[in-house]
Structures are given as structure tokens and as C-alpha cells.
Subunit: 239 residues, 2 copies
Amino acid sequence: MFVQSAATIRKNSRPPGVDSTVSDTLLIAGCPQLVGSRMTYAQDEEIYGDGEEAEFVYKVVAGAVRTYKLLSDGRRQIGAFHLPGDIFGFESNSTHRLSAEAISDTTVLVFSRRALECLATHSIEIARALWALAARSLDHAEDHMLLLGRKTAAERVAAFLLEMDERMQSTGAIRLPMTRRDIGDYLGLTLETVSRALSHLKAEGTLELPTARQITVQRRSKLRTLGSEDAFPRALSCC
Amino acid sequence: MFVQSAATIRKNSRPPGVDSTVSDTLLIAGCPQLVGSRMTYAQDEEIYGDGEEAEFVYKVVAGAVRTYKLLSDGRRQIGAFHLPGDIFGFESNSTHRLSAEAISDTTVLVFSRRALECLATHSIEIARALWALAARSLDHAEDHMLLLGRKTAAERVAAFLLEMDERMQSTGAIRLPMTRRDIGDYLGLTLETVSRALSHLKAEGTLELPTARQITVQRRSKLRTLGSEDAFPRALSCC
DNA sequence: CGTTAATTTGACGGGAATCAAGGGGAGTGG
DNA sequence: CCACTCCCCTTGATTCCCGTCAAATTAACG
């Protein structure tokens, strides 16, 4: 598995040496010692596989990534979409717990996990930033469990649109990189159900669909009442 | 909210002062500086609420705890059950993202989050242990998303039984602290569906139900084929 | 022993999955 | 520029798993 990771890393760099440049000194956690190697992946190309050695950490520069788990019969659960600026693939264990694929042609910065951990050993701020990173993933997972376990199809789709709108800072004009199947596998639905929910929202006038991948939100309030019920803090209602 | 947390801490200790003893020097992450205060909660008592200040971290000594999120109409998703030995309530943010309640009468050790973080600042090992803690929660959440999004009722119940059997090291003789409703809210099902699934497994001879809360596994292999499909590593099938 | 909550079981209905065509857009090649 | 193709998406028809509603049974507890 170690070998496979190493192969993956080299596969897509046109010259055999990775084009690591100081120019894209985009740093994880604002730490100047760590410069990532730029890598590109074609649409649907695997970035890493479930069970592989977690040798690298990734930061999306352009494109989009899905991380997912599979059952043996092909059922898939996408745990998260990773958009430009997002860091993914950072594990506490030595191996990846999900697989990662490029949704569209994607550019990432690749960092050595070992180097990161080493830095964290010397800097409390880095250690804390990494731990905050894991915690953010956990927060998202907890919200998503509520969605998967307890929300209706309409609520899931509305929540998805709100999430994407916010994360892409596309104020109302969402440009989706993923297919309906991807969305379904993220929301625990079939692609048909996702499509129907979108059509319904369109018919209601809540949104417009200039193209299938382009969604403009007309009435955000309507989406909010459906999807954005992010767990009502008990504290607010009782004190 | 700060006030509420402080009140909670004092509420259940029969003498006004908490009985913090050196005797139960059960330490988080094996660190002798930190001694927790022993606290008890009655069945169904709230330990903390969603949105409250995350002032304390908890370790279960006896009993069981559920952490969950609610929708405004009462739908509930239990994110995890916490059994003796488990640590919960540790957040990266300043506030709790879920609520916590005692499932049965429960004893916990309470630690100051601030003290823990302070320790982590001075000790890399502690910092790493805390981050491993968060990562374990994340792993569980990722597995659980697959269950909630993609598994059938029978598969969910089988997976639940296997999880409990393993975590309680009750080799085949599971003593459940939680109700069918709790199980349902954990698995994204109704209590009736959980009950039916259990009855079905009983009729098959896969398990016995001496009482509703006591389950003895007769054929673990049967449960495994149903539930324990914990995401097939792509790596195993392709290299 | 009575009261209440938890669980089981049955009957039924509905929401989403499945099965199945039918469009529509983007890219390709003529 | 247009025809062709492929894939994605939409929409319809039908199925079915699980949720809902309801009642009976069992367990828990004072």
C-alpha cells in the first residue's frame, strides 16, 4: 500500500519531478516551513484509497474532491465534498479511512503527513490548528449524521444547497461540480430522488435551474425552513 | 450558559462539595496532574446541553450516556453511546455541539477542559492523545454515516449488536442499558423497526432474548454477514 | 397488586427506491 | 455547421421497505 501511494504521487506530474514551487507558498495552518507540491488529478481519478497508508495530506487548490466509503455491493456513502481551500486526507491513524477521488479535474497541494506531525511536535499552535481541523470534520460529520438519520429527502436537498451556497460563497448562484449521483450518495438518497426534489423546488419558485449544474436560489428563506434546522440548542429554549 | 453549566456540576452531589478523591486517580491520557471529580447523574438527566459552554470533559465510570442532536419537531439523532471508560464532551470549539444525557444512573469523572488544554500546551504526548481522541470520534462518525446513509434496517441492527458486543467485551451476552427508542434514534430507525429486526433475528436463531435488554448472540457469523461490512478497502481488491 | 412504561406484534399507508423511458448538452467527427 | 454519441438528467410507473397508527403483552416499580 505504501508503494501504491508513492506511485500515485508521481503519476500525474508531467515531468518526472514534481513541480514544487516556492511561488505557491500556500501553507497549512500558516506555517512557512511547509511547502506543498502541486499535483493534478483528472476527473474521477483516485487520489487515495480506503486502507492505504496515509502518507500525505492534501489541500484543494482548484476543482473538487469527494471522500467516501463503499460497501462490497457498491453502495456508496460520500462523507464530504472538498472544495478549494479545504484540507483533507489528514488522519490520526496510519491509514486512510475513506477513499478520495477528483470530482472534476482537480489541483491540490500535497504535504507530507510526517513533516506536518513533526512540526506539530515543535509548535503548539500547529498542533492546535491540526486538532481544530479534525474537530471541524467531526462537527460536520455530526451534523451530517442528523441529516442522514432523521431528515426527509426535501430537507436533505435543501440543506445541501445551503451548504454549497455558503461554502462556495456563491451568493445564490451555485455552480455544482458533482453529478446527481454524487449528491445522492452524499445525502443518502438516489439520484432520482435528488432530481425530483430539485424539480419540486424549481416548480415552487424556490430556485431556478439554468442548467443542471447551475442553481440560482430565489427564496433562501424557503430553503432555510426546510434544511437549515441545524439542531436546536436546548440551551436557547430553557435559559 | 456558563451559569447553567456551573449549576449542573453542583446539582447532583449529595453534599454541596463534590467528592473528589485521590483514590480514583483515573487519569485522562495517563496524566497524573489531572484528577477528576466524581459526579453522578440520574436516569435521563441532562449532563450538558447543545450550545452550552464546553467547560468540562467527562469520562464514564459506570452507567451509560447518549449524545444527540434534536430537530425542532423532536426528531432525534443519537451520535454515540458512551460506556464505562469512554471520554466524551471534549470539543474544539467553546461550546458543545450535542446534548448529553445519562441513559441509566451514571457515574462520571469530570475534568476541567481548560486544565486539560493547559496540560496539552506543555506536553506533546497529551496533545497527541487528545487529538487521537477526536480522531477516534471522527472514525466512528464516518462509519456511522455509511450506516445511516446506505444500510438497511437489518444491517443497522446487526451492526449495532456487533458494536455493543465488542465495546462491552460481553462475549455474546449483551446487557443493553438503552431502550428500543434510543437504539432507533441511534440507527436512524423507529423503535418498532428495531424491535421487529430483533424479533426476526431471534426467529432465525441468530440470537436469544432472555429479557428485552439482554441479548445473547448465537450465531455471530450471521450478524457479521449482515452488519459488519465496514467499508471494503479498495486497496485490498486492486493491489 | 395496581399503575405505568417498555416492548412486541399487527395492519396499513406513504415516501423513497427501483425500473424504465425519454430529453438535453457537450463533445466529436464528418 | 450539423449529425451522432454518450452521459447526465428528468420524469413516469410501480414496488417495497419502513414509518405510522393501534392494540396487546410484558416488565418495572412503588
